[in-house]
């Protein structure tokens, strides 16, 4: 076990735990993660938004680390002291990285199906600036339909590689990957190969932005107009445990059950996701708990909100 102190809170975690997961164990001021996904081996380290400052490497080595480190892939050591939100340097760096992530992002949230549950949206709201200083033409790509169920909107992609790891680790024949280099790099099948696999739909759930979206849900509704319900079915391919997104009696969308960090509890199969679109296909367990930061909870949970300035939250 190792004792690590993050933003003045000390926690004891097993050896080999990353700083990010130690922060998740504390549960407060968790660094954001756009590319790390605990269920995907090898993910993380790429987006750099989870950078933190290590001011003391360990009990044995009281020196800090010279550069900011990615908390998702740096393991803790006994006696380590980490600064996340308490470090102005970290806040400044994160702000810079969010700005860089957004310079080529289309900011087309009004027409994006991910809006309302988009991690990049949350991130830019929490750490970004209200305006952009980038006044050059943004990089653009053509939209591609990857098979009948998935649409790839490369303009929005932040190259987190999560979908590549998903295809590699969940399916036996990955046909898509990252091609080209630098800021021309793109997720592609190279020649519109169809992702044809029982678990391919999970790339939609792992995508932190609106780059991979569910074609069966496309433009049907906005996330905040739908009601999420936990449900299950007897499925021979996966656990059958899903979240249904309902509008009235209609099942608009089926996804995996996501935790507070946006990670699914269990990956689900394409039959559950794309084909079981009737309420009668499912056993409804009850409404899904909604995080207070979710756009769905807006105007519904005023007293639970953790608002920085209490005067604004006081009802008159």
């Amino acid at each position: 076990m190792a004792k690590v102190t993050i933003d003045n809170v000390t926690v004891e975690v097993p050896d080999g735990t990353t700083i990010l997961n130690a922060a998740r164990a504390i549960g407060e001021n968790v660094p954001p993660a756009m590319c790390y996904y605990s269920k995907l081996k090898g993910s993380g380290g790429k987006c750099r938004v989870c950078l933190v400052k290590v001011t003391k490497s360990s009990e044995a080595n009281p020196r800090g680390m010279p550069k900011l480190v990615a908390s998702c892939c740096t393991t803790v050591a006994d006696g380590m002291v980490v600064e996340n939100v308490t470090s102005p340097e970290v806040i400044e760096a994160r702000k810079g990285i969010v700005e860089l992530l957004l310079i080529n992002h289309p900011l087309d949230c009004p027409v994006c199906d991910q809006a309302g549950e988009c991690h990049l949206q949350d991130l830019s709201y929490e750490h970004g600036a209200a305006t952009t200083r980038y006044d050059f033409e943004r990089r653009t790509f053509e939209k591609i339909d990857i098979g009948p169920y998935i649409q790839l909107h490369m303009n929005r992609c932040i190259l987190c590689y999560r979908c590549v790891y998903t295809a590699d680790q969940l399916t036996d024949g990955r046909v898509h990957g990252v091609i080209n280099r630098g800021d021309h790099a793109e997720i592609s099948t190279y020649i519109s190969n169809i992702i044809d696999n029982d678990f391919s739909g999970n790339v939609i759930d792992v995508c932190p932005v609106g780059a991979l979206t569910d074609r069966t849900f496309r433009f049907k509704s906005r996330v905040w107009f739908t009601k999420p319900m936990d449900a299950h079915c007897d499925c021979d391919k996966c656990s059958g445990k899903v979240t249904l997104w309902l509008q009235g009696e209609e099942v608009l969308r089926v996804t995996g059950r996501k935790d507070q960090y946006g990670e699914v509890d269990e990956f689900i199969c394409n039959t559950c996701r794309f084909e079981r679109k009737k309420k009668s296909d499912w056993v409804i367990e009850g409404p899904r708990r909604i995080g207070t930061h979710s756009v769905i909870s807006q105007n519904h949970l005023p007293y639970e909100l953790n608002v920085v300035n209490p005067q604004i939250a006081q009802p008159q």
């Binding site: 380290g45 550069k67 990615a70 810079g96 990285i97 860089l100 310079i103 080529n104 050059f136 630098g182």
Partner: protein, 449 residues
């Protein structure tokens, strides 16, 4: 005339073949190492020599070797980094082209010291003609019994192969090189684990530059202490400097570290002064990634002491008034050169070569290039200069590998030392497309001959 360790016999054409190489004392270190020394003794000599990595970072080689994890029964690998791609650097090419056996000998001796049974030379794909020279040399070494099973009758066996890259600057970064050798995209790995623990195919691996490896035979033959007496202070030994730009005698020079920069630029033994009798404007002393030094800081440090060709002296003053020895790519600018144009050119290089894996570098290099392009072509605004400064700060230090720093440093140094030139570009949008700041001549229209 300084001491020559690598290039003593460079002018003798027969040294390219194994017979000629042996005639001038080649492969002695293999005999000595295999028959008289243990692997650890060699590492000890390398440590004593103070040899530092010649690829750019200058990390002590002996210390790097001692990090190699020997606690498992996994095979260990030695990789030679011959992916020479840093703009301004063309020194390794000379060794491999003219004295290929020096590298082969160094690889055998180093592999023996590290307990390696299979070693690879990763050479940039564009050097395909040199790859063929190396393969020829390796075949000769096999035929003579310096490679293969039971070398020179000892118990030690080694296989050595050459592996071509495919055109990617980033593969000079050691973990990207390993990824590339594994047949993947050259995306640098997240460290730790370091290659010395888990490198090629997850096995303990050492990656050394060509010039570093080529120094090992001398250290074995003459002893680490002899080597450590050459040079100055912690900058021991000699260094190959590839000099280019606006000088009379561009080329590769082996210098003893500690040589005054002034002597290197102006003496006829080395660069021979600025071409056309012009004035010196600036120098990038260690490959495109290191900060540019304006004329007043080239031959003297900010403290007024003579600037020397050594790791310490070139770095004196930090990034405020110093630079780095880097890979030894010495780029000289005469009075007619435009710093904004050159910085844009370097930025375009980094934009082109970014692997695109992590976001600050992928997005930041492109942004910097676009701002610089605008400034250079007369469409810039004063705010662009501060914006550029800000963007480079956001890239530096925040990336997976040192590429981000390498793309940010030249931009930062150019603004730091030549801000007036950037401002002049903004204030003279038309003139800046025709001539350069201060002095200079109009760019000539090419004429068909």
């Amino acid at each position: 005339m300084g001491k020559k360790i690598l290039l003593e016999h460079i002018d003798k054409p027969e040294i390219k073949g194994i017979e000629g190489y042996i005639k001038y004392g080649g492969y002695r270190s293999i005999e000595k190492a295999l028959k008289k020394m243990t692997p650890d003794e060699i590492t000890e000599e390398v440590k004593k020599s103070g040899l530092r990595g010649r690829g750019g970072a200058g990390f002590p080689t002996g210390m790097k070797w001692s990090f190699l994890f020997k606690g498992s029964d996994k095979p260990r690998y030695l990789l030679c980094n011959a992916d020479e791609s840093e703009p301004g650097t063309f020194k390794d090419r000379l060794i491999m082209e003219k004295i290929p056996h020096l590298l082969v000998e160094g690889m055998i001796a180093s592999s023996y010291a590290l307990g390696v049974r299979t070693a690879y030379i990763y050479i940039r794909g564009e050097y395909m003609y040199i790859l063929r020279i190396l393969e020829q040399a390796i075949a000769e070494a096999y035929a003579k019994g310096y490679l293969g099973e039971k070398i020179l009758g000892s118990d030690y066996s080694l296989d050595l192969y050459v592996h071509p890259g495919g055109g990617a600057y980033i593969c000079g970064e050691e973990t990207a090189l390993i990824e590339s050798l594994e047949g993947k995209r050259g995306n640098p790995r997240i460290k730790p684990p370091f290659p010395a623990v888990a490198g090629l195919w997850g096995c303990p691996t050492i990656v050394n530059n060509v010039e570093t490896i080529a120094k090992v035979p001398f250290i074995i033959n003459e002893g680490g202490e002899t080597y450590s007496k050459i040079g100055i202070g912690a900058s021991t030994g000699t260094k190959l400097i590839s000099a280019c730009g606006n000088i009379n005698k561009p080329g590769v020079y082996e210098i003893e570290l500690g040589l005054p920069v002034e002597e290197f630029i102006y003496s006829d033994e080395y660069c021979g002064g600025i071409k056309g009798g012009k004035q010196l404007k600036a120098v990038v002393p260690g490959g495109s990634s290191v900060p540019i030094l304006p004329q007043r800081l080239v031959t003297k440090t900010a403290a007024g002491t003579p600037r020397l060709m050594s790791y310490e002296s070139l770095a004196e003053g930090g990034f405020q008034t110093g630079s780095m020895l880097g890979s030894g790519g010495f780029i000289v600018f005469d009075e007619d050169q435009c710093v904004v144009r050159n910085t844009w050119n370097f930025s375009r290089f980094y934009h082109h070569e970014s692997c695109g894996q992590c976001s600050p570098c992928r997005e930041g290099t492109g942004w910097m290039e676009k701002i610089l392009h605008r400034l250079e072509h007369g469409h810039g605004h004063m705010e662009d200069i501060d914006l550029l400064w800000d963007v480079q700060r956001k890239v530096e230090g925040n990336t997976i590998c040192p590429f981000g720093d390498a793309s940010a440093w030249p931009v930062a140094a150019a603004i730091r030392h030549f801000r007036d030139e950037f401002e002049w570009h903004v204030l003279n949008p038309e003139e800046c497309t025709r001539r350069n700041y201060g002095m200079g001549v109009a760019a000539a229209e090419p004429e068909l001959v």
